[in-house]
Subunit: 405 residues, 2 copies
Amino acid sequence: MAKKLIVQKFGGSSVANVERIQNVAKRVIGYKKEGHDLVVVVSAMADTTDELLELANQINPEPEEREMDMLLSTGEQISVALLAMAIHKLGFEAISFTGAQVGIITDANYTKARIIKINAERIREQIKRGRIVIVAGFQGVTMDHNITTLGRGGSDLTAVALATALQANECEIYTDVEGIYSTDPRIEPRAKKLKAITFDEMLEMASLGAQVMQARSIEVAKKFNVPLHVRSSISTNPGTMIVKEVNRMEEALITGVTLNKNEAKITVCDVPDKPGVAADLFQNLSDGGVNVDMIVQNVSHTKKTDISFTVGKAQCAKAVKLTQKIASDIGAGDVVLDDDISRVGIVGIGMKSHPGVAAKMFGTLADNKINIEMISTSDISISCIIKKKFGETAVKMLHKEFGLG
Amino acid sequence: MAKKLIVQKFGGSSVANVERIQNVAKRVIGYKKEGHDLVVVVSAMADTTDELLELANQINPEPEEREMDMLLSTGEQISVALLAMAIHKLGFEAISFTGAQVGIITDANYTKARIIKINAERIREQIKRGRIVIVAGFQGVTMDHNITTLGRGGSDLTAVALATALQANECEIYTDVEGIYSTDPRIEPRAKKLKAITFDEMLEMASLGAQVMQARSIEVAKKFNVPLHVRSSISTNPGTMIVKEVNRMEEALITGVTLNKNEAKITVCDVPDKPGVAADLFQNLSDGGVNVDMIVQNVSHTKKTDISFTVGKAQCAKAVKLTQKIASDIGAGDVVLDDDISRVGIVGIGMKSHPGVAAKMFGTLADNKINIEMISTSDISISCIIKKKFGETAVKMLHKEFGLG
């Protein structure tokens, strides 16, 4: 087998206690024994971050973000040191590094910093010396030496960015599931693990509610064409490859069905139908830090129209408040909130070349007496907003109708 | 009151929980309100270090020292971030730094690194901006960016070194006692808190067993003439100043009485009385990493002599093993271990100018039927090895006889 440079990422649950850290050590060494070079990215031990957050919250419920990053970055530093010790104990050479030490340079947007560049020289040097290199995930450092963290899914991002910088042959994301499924197995037990999925499909899956990986890391992997292997940290089964292109023998119409119950729908009624009104509304929401997801506006026949959009539930109150102000400014009518919704989506590059996928989806929902409140489509996905209680049924029916079971 | 630059050090018990961190924040702000500039050095929260050590021990009882420092340095990083948050909460500006971030450059002797230099520019810049600067104690960084720790008493050393580098007006060491006492108040309730003590006296106190500060920090403070103020983190009472010279109105004969029950005595019997034998013995012990404390050798009338020395109990087994080997090599007799000993000492610059202090000490012990097994003296101290059970009695009697009560 050819010698490969493999970047592996283990999340917080994979290093949650001494035994699991020892298991990760064994697993990593297994690859080392096969002759590969290894860079291992580790998250904070599960619970550590929560404990630190709780301490911070008791002291200052609105902590300065720079200090928050100073605090939270210790979690990964603990993990990397312990993993290095576990590997040493088994007789192999390893060295741990913080984000700062391996030159993961970010901007100064504390708690959600973006990686500007990586000076991978130090890692390359240690790999040459035959060591397993262990890097703290989720963190970086600004040009003037302040510690930053990368926000949700930050350790995945560290792994993908390192794989890019090091031109790694593989990037493995170890997680507590076996891979990416055709839908959530907790909802549909007949869900199938996918052998492979494209970056674009995965991006749609992520944004439509699949929780395995954050969209941000997938975007970077897509940009630099780093194939990802999402797999279980417990079993040795192969997981799901996330790649640029998938050659499926029999092209499936769709790849997966997603469900997101964490959104709410806001409707602005009787919006004057003139240019710039929608721009005004969404610019103001964006300025207010609200992430809008789906947007639907119907053509108007009455000089007035309704605009509906969805936002994450956490931002719901803020979004309504902002929307009410703007509605009043632009002479629109009521602002109506509906948080009793589910968003069900189908994703698949197959739908590009197969007409009728949308019709089949809508038909399936209709056959099950499920009313569609909003529709939004992209090249490779279709999402529908339905009543919350129909979410699981819709997933099961679509999974079956599109032959994913 | 003139504006001063004050370096303050708070130990692990002073930041052991949220409430105590808040108290430290209030205390620091009190000085800020008086117009002073502040650099605050903080240790890890009490228990944090023990918890990390326990984790490490479970994974690898003999961890690589570099990884140990990587692990342990997180403790202080947590403290500084939390203290900064607590100060922010009270409406004052503060910024936290790791040892690496403020340029505390050390050698690569992990777990007991020595400070080579400090680039205090970053601290000065933040002071100029009116911020309270919080620095992680106990840690530094090598020239090639590896994290190091400074060993026992490391946070004191950080404070003293920063006070030196910044030419601070004061360096306050906050602790859980009220200051330095004429003897251990747990043994002699009439022990008096000393207003002031010289560096040299404090060094003797430290080496003779007073636990408040490690000798290393005092040596650095002496070298750069940084006056230290050892005081309580709970009360606002003034503590004890450690300074170059003390002008006492009525020169006391001695300043303090010390007791150390953590040593053992090793005697090598019938050592051939020829040049180089003692050198051989102690060079070998030193090469073996054994710290020898007192050494006594009597003049010989028989071509054979006995050599006795004391070592810390932790190093006892190793020392005996090494000594037996050397004894055999040089043709000496038995090696006898006695760990049933106390070392009682008196310290004071007064004895330089007053004859008869030693005689008074020996007389006091004799009056109390306490046999002296070894004697060792310096310019400003006299130590006697006696049976362990007499330790406390000896301290009380000497404290009384020298009028310290």
